[in-house]
């Protein structure tokens, strides 16, 4: 079982996955000839190369098992990703300030030591910096709080 959780074996699977995916999504692209290549020529060639390499990497990993892949730690990965996604959703709809507060709150929580006073101070400094740099400095067309200004 441990061989199937090795870094190299899983990497091989990932490359096979990408190669197969590329083949599937490029299936309608005409390949053309070597002289007049169609839009599908290079994507198909790369996809096949990736498939072959993926199989070779996975096969070698099965014969010579290497380092085991550590499982993901969900809290840092999840909070950082959710923080950015929240920012993306709020930025246009609600404005810079709500998006910023959400991002800093969620990511600070994800980083461990959460101190309300520190995080508030960080939010204040970053808000000031963003307004000066992006709104006043670069003239970015975004409201600080949607509907207010």
């Amino acid at each position: 079982m441990s061989r199937l959780l090795g870094k190299d074996f899983l990497a091989g699977l990932m490359f096979i996955g990408f190669g197969a995916g590329a083949l599937w999504f490029a299936r309608h692209l005409p390949i053309g000839t070597a002289m007049r290549m169609g839009p599908g020529y290079v994507p198909h060639a790369l996809a096949y190369l990736l498939l072959v390499l993926g199989f070779v990497i996975a096969a070698i990993a099965l014969i010579y098992p290497g380092e085991r892949c550590e499982g993901p730690r969900w809290k840092p990965l999840g909070t950082v990703t959710i923080a950015i996604v929240c920012f993306a959703l709020l930025f246009e709809a609600a404005g810079m300030l709500p998006a910023l507060v959400a991002l800093v709150l969620i990511s600070s929580w994800g980083g461990g030591e959460f101190n309300t006073l520190e995080v508030t101070a960080n939010i204040a400094v970053l808000t000031l910096l963003c307004v000066v740099v992006f709104k006043l400095g670069l003239g970015m067309n975004v409201s600080i709080v949607a509907g207010i200004g």
Partner: protein
């Protein structure tokens, strides 16, 4: 004299008030992120790419270049004072620099590394001036097949220098090339891998990808490791003793020479330069036992080498349009954002940009000595800012920067998605740098490949019939063979292990 004419043009461009200010800004930002562990020049330049869109091209590139070599100066400060590499290229400086600091010679170590870096930066800039024109002239004779071969050589070098398995590095390059194909095919207008998303039809923007792969992934990994800081030691007197000077200057010369050569090689760069210089110093020293216990040569050599290599790694990018490492890939991206096609034509079509940037590098090096020595106290204070304040700020600037590319939230989502993908790559031991090089070179490589095959009427032998293309491909093949030879593979593994400790 052409060189003198070009240089005076460059100096007049670089000395304009606007360009001086952007060079200064770049140097300060570079020193800042160099000093702070956990954020490097790749992530920073990716973060600032959208902002450079608002600047004139010369100012933008001068600033980005300043960040890159500024980081080489700043990185040594952290290595020497807190035994943490501020930058990957300063890893070996930790070994003897921190030991010098513990013996109360931190100030001397800092000033030797700054002065050595300045000397190396000056020589590196001269090397660029001397080699740029002949290389550009050579590059103008290149046909599509030759360009293809050159890019293959560049990608091969990226594979050689990637950490870990060679096969995985090759696969990462291919994956990067594949991602580079996303968008509308320029020859036929066909939509490739766009999934009917309008934002993808112009091609996948690589600034959000670089931010995700290098910035966001780094933050997630640092959160996992709970990045800790140890207390900084006192700086002390900046003046080295006569004995230290006598031992340091030959090491500076050797480091500069080695770094300049290794920087030009495709795939080379500061980290390789610094590491090789340390090995060289240790090997030729009459007293190798002193290394690891605060030998001044072990600071002077690598610190000169990393700065020399940072300068000369601009050569392939500026003259041929081929990036030799991840930072140069981003510089190519910055040029494309500005509507400048990187390659041999930059020098003839945009001479102010080309020579202005080269001249600004020397001016920037002067600024950096001042920023790093008399003002060292400021940077020491900065070392005490905890990572939990920095991480949200980096996330925020990445997100806003991605949005400002095209005023679309889609690009912020892209940052998040590539952050997750970068995390998966890191967990599976796959390096991001070969992927990024593949991504940047992908569209050009396909274009030249198709053109070469069209010109040769579908005959792949064209790649070995042209002498330039043949020799470049032979060089690429030689690199691959060298990789597979067991003795060299062992040396490479040792090199990377040492780097990691």
């Amino acid at each position: 004299m052409d060189i003198i004419h070009n240089l005076s043009l460059g100096i007049s461009v670089a000395l304009s008030l606007q360009n001086l200010l952007y060079a200064l800004a770049g140097c300060i930002i570079g020193t800042l992120i160099g000093v702070l562990p956990g954020i490097g020049p790749v992530a920073t330049i990716a973060m600032l790419l959208p902002i450079t869109f608002h600047l004139p091209p010369t100012a933008a590139l001068i600033m980005l270049a300043g960040i890159y070599y500024g980081a080489q100066y700043g990185g040594s400060t952290t290595s020497i004072l807190v035994n943490l590499p501020g930058e990957a290229s300063s890893v070996v400086t930790c070994i003897d620099g921190y030991q010098m600091a513990r013996r109360g010679r931190a100030g001397a170590a800092l000033s030797i590394s700054a002065v050595g870096s300045f000397f190396a930066g000056t020589i590196g800039t001269i090397v660029i001036v001397l080699f740029a024109t002949p290389l550009t002239q050579m590059a103008q004779k290149f046909g599509p097949a030759d360009y293809c071969a050159l890019m293959v050589l560049g990608l091969m070098a990226a594979i050689v220098l990637a950490n870990g398995s060679v096969l995985k590095a090759i696969a990462m390059v291919l994956l990067g090339l594949l991602f580079g194909l996303v968008g509308t095919d320029v020859n036929t207008g066909a939509q490739r891998f766009t999934f009917e998303v309008a934002e993808l039809s112009d091609g996948i923007d690589f600034a959000p990808i670089a931010m995700g792969l290098f910035g966001i992934t780094e933050i997630i990994l640092n959160f996992e490791r709970r990045l800790q800081r140890s207390g900084a030691v006192k700086v002390g007197s900046l003046w080295p003793t006569m004995d230290e000077v006598r031992r340091a200057w030959p090491a500076v010369l050797r480091g500069t020479g080695l770094g300049s050569i290794l920087g030009v090689l495709p795939g080379g760069g500061p980290t390789l330069g610094a590491f090789s210089a340390y090995m060289l110093e240790k090997k030729i020293s009459r007293n190798p036992g002193a290394f690891g216990k605060g030998a001044v040569e072990g600071v002077a050599g690598p610190e000169s080498a990393n700065n020399a290599a940072a300068q000369t790694s601009f050569i392939p990018m500026l003259t041929l349009g081929i990036p030799s490492n991840a930072v140069m890939a981003l510089m190519v991206g910055a040029m494309i954002i500005q509507g400048i096609q990187p390659g041999p034509e930059v020098m003839t079509k945009n001479p102010e940009l080309f020579w202005g940037m080269v001249a600004s590098m020397w001016i920037g090096n002067c600024m950096l000595v001042i920023i790093n020595l008399p003002l060292i106290g400021i940077w020491v204070k900065l070392l005490t800012v905890p990572y939990r304040f920095l991480a949200p700020a980096i996330l925020l600037f990445c997100s806003i920067g991605a949005y400002s590319l095209q005023n679309s939230s889609f690009h912020i989502m892209q940052v998040a998605a590539f952050g997750v993908l970068g995390y998966i790559f890191a967990r599976l031991g796959c390096e991001g740098a070969p992927f990024l090089l593949g991504l940047v070179l992908g569209p050009q490589l396909e274009e030249y490949f198709r053109r070469a095959m069209l010109l040769s009427r579908g005959d792949p032998l064209v790649f070995i019939q042209r002498p330039i293309s043949l020799s470049l491909l032979l060089a690429a093949a030689a690199l691959l063979v060298l990789m597979i030879l067991p003795s060299l593979r062992q040396a490479r593994n040792e090199a990377f292990q040492e780097e990691e400790t």
